[in-house]
Amino acid sequence: MNRIDQLFEKKKKRVLSIYFTAGFPNLEDTIPVMKAIENAGADIIEVGIPYSDPIADGPTIQDSNMIALNHGMSLKKLFGQLQDMRQTISLPVVLMGYLNPIIQYGMMAFCKKCKEIGIDGLILPDLPMQQYLDEYKGIFEQYGLRNIFLISPQTSEKRVIEIDQNTDGFIYMVSSHSITGAKTTISDEQISYFKRIEALQLKNPRLIGFGISDAETFNIASKYSNGAIIGSAFIKIIKESKDLETDIKAYIRSVIQ
């Protein structure tokens, strides 16, 4: 059974997913950061594939992408680092990346490799749903990969339901009209959006991302969904860190308390 499905079967609330960019802060930090996230008590690890033009990301993640690429990170290199990850990592692992590096690698080869090393799901923000259905759904299913779509406050109810029907794993709720890392508090308007989606009673679990950075924002998000995703705030912690293991543990503990 897919590890994402297993997770949500056991845990319905306060699921914490942590995003970081592969090869950041240093090229060989990918696995140590993943281990530290697991040891600290998070529930899902989201590994970003660095890209030169990450248009849905704010300055913090852009910067981490650029640093990782300058270190020589590439998709091939990443697969090399992750080859034996299942010897040490038991959490669900999701790869997040933009479409271009993946289609250059080849979608079929990419998905096959993901299955081989034990990846559970994919978040590809610039893969449109129609394209997914027309071209890639069969491949994702063949290799047991959950495809995670984004929705935003702008997404119409009809479209949310359509996305729910074509998603498995979980739905990534973008908390505001926003690129990552742009906002730090949660407004009443956002809460009414969370409630609106909650009321739709979707079949998929929902995690709220963009703007989640601490215990307070995590608690609010968890109240209206199954949990949250932290990206930019985590990147800032590891960028400054002199001791990844200790700092990651302290940060994640402070969020989940």
Binding site: Y51, Q104, S152, V174
Partner: protein
């Protein structure tokens, strides 16, 4: 047949590869633009502004001395005489009317050389709309006069400091800004790039260029069809406009001049069809300069307007099907061609346009051939670059 399909593809290229956050905006545009553009009210306002504000029709000028020198009948389509100094304004006039009809309050745009930024700032001033233009930090340095023009027109110019700090990065920043402000903002893309329906919409606004060439040439040469149409291609909006009504007339040769920079194999080039492979950039599948790992490569051209690692999907399709001939013109040759036109015809062209002029030396033609070169812009904005180059 060169035609966009309903999913926004020209053959293998095009589409709308956008984050879900932009889906409602793109849908709104897709659902409304064709109907709006076809409406009598829209056409009346668009045509009237093109005539009285932009100064259309622009002349189709028979270049006597250039024709003598090259041994063909060469006409220049004088887009350099448009208000603001280049063809870019044809598109911004169209899109601002569209934005107004969609009830948008704010306009954002990206710019490379600054021509599209100026053309956007201009129409925003005309319509009393708030305007923010994203421009690569490097381009801000090398196109100072255009930056000041945008500011005089009341626009806010925001430097893009990521990546190569040029057009590609300015486009990334504009897209991010749009994601952050999806409801009240319209993004005026300046070229035939981006997610569907932008490439086709921009091409249609620019298609007034070839629409005019047809009747103007008929008056002068008793035929609507030249033997060859030449235009420069960065993203490719002026070329799309000049080619548009000739796409499906096979006897008219289409020539697209790309920027080779310091040479196609120098590592400092922007010749996308020579160096690119299929990939996805700024929301569409097209030819793209990239590494084996799919990272976008930083292009180089002496002309900020051609300094782009991709090409509009329609041009990728024209290349792929062999419908258009592509030539790659080096910096040095373009500069010389710019000086040559200045001396022969008393017209200082934009350096982008100078690439199209040099292609006369790279293609074959006969003495009786009628050649139309799209003179996309004037060289005022490039004086600094001409002065630094100094070969005159």
């Amino acid at each position: 047949m060169i035609k966009v399909d309903e999913k926004g593809f020209y053959g293998k290229f095009g589409g709308a590869y956008i984050p879900e956050m932009l889906y409602p905006n793109i849908e709104e545009l897709k659902e409304n633009y064709e109907q709006l553009m076809a409406s009598e009210e829209f056409q009346k306002e668009f045509r009237s502004l093109l005539k009285d504000y932009v100064g259309r029709p622009t002349p189709l000028y028979f270049a006597t001395r250039l024709s003598e020198k090259y041994g063909a009948k060469i006409y220049l389509k004088r887009e350099d005489l448009c208000h603001t100094g280049a063809h870019k304004v044809n598109n911004t006039v169209g899109q601002i009317i569209l934005a107004k009809k969609l009830g948008k309050k704010r306009i954002i745009a990206e710019t490379g050389a600054g021509q599209h930024g100026v053309a956007t700032a201009t129409v925003c001033a005309l319509m009393g709309m708030e305007c923010t233009v994203f421009m690569g930090a490097l381009d801000i340095q090398r196109q100072r006069p255009n930056v000041e023009r945008m500011k005089i027109l009341g626009a806010k110019v925001v430097p893009a400091t990521s990546g190569s700090q040029t057009l590609k990065d300015a486009t990334n920043e504009a897209m991010r800004q749009w994601i952050n402000n999806p409801v009240d903002t319209h993004y005026i893309i300046g070229s035939v790039v981006g997610p569907h329906p932008y490439p086709e919409m921009v091409a249609r606004f620019q298609s007034v260029i070839s629409e005019e060439i047809k009747w103007q040439l008929k008056e002068k040469e008793k035929t609507e069809n030249p033997d060859i149409v030449i235009a420069c291609v960065g993203g490719g909006s002026n070329a799309a406009g000049a080619f548009y009504h000739y796409y499906n007339i096979p006897q008219v040769r289409l020539v697209a001049a790309e920027a080779a920079g310091l040479g196609v194999s120098s590592g400092k080039s922007a010749a996308t069809t020579a160096l690119g492979t299929p990939g996805i950039l700024h929301g569409s599948k097209t030819l793209l300069m990239q590494t084996e790992d799919g990272q976008v490569v930083e292009p180089h051209s002496i002309s900020a307007g051609l300094d782009y690692p991709g090409i509009g999907p329609v041009h990728a399709h024209l290349f792929d099907t062999g419908r258009a001939e592509f030539v790659a013109v080096e910096d040095e040759d373009a500069m010389k061609a710019g000086i040559e036109l200045s001396r022969l015809e008393g017209i200082i062209p934009a350096i982008e346009t100078a690439h199209a002029l040099h292609s006369l030396q790279m293609i074959e033609y006969k003495k009786e051939d009628i050649i139309v070169i799209n003179l996309s812009g004037r060289g005022d904005k490039d004086l600094d670059t001409y002065i630094k180059w100094g070969g005159y």
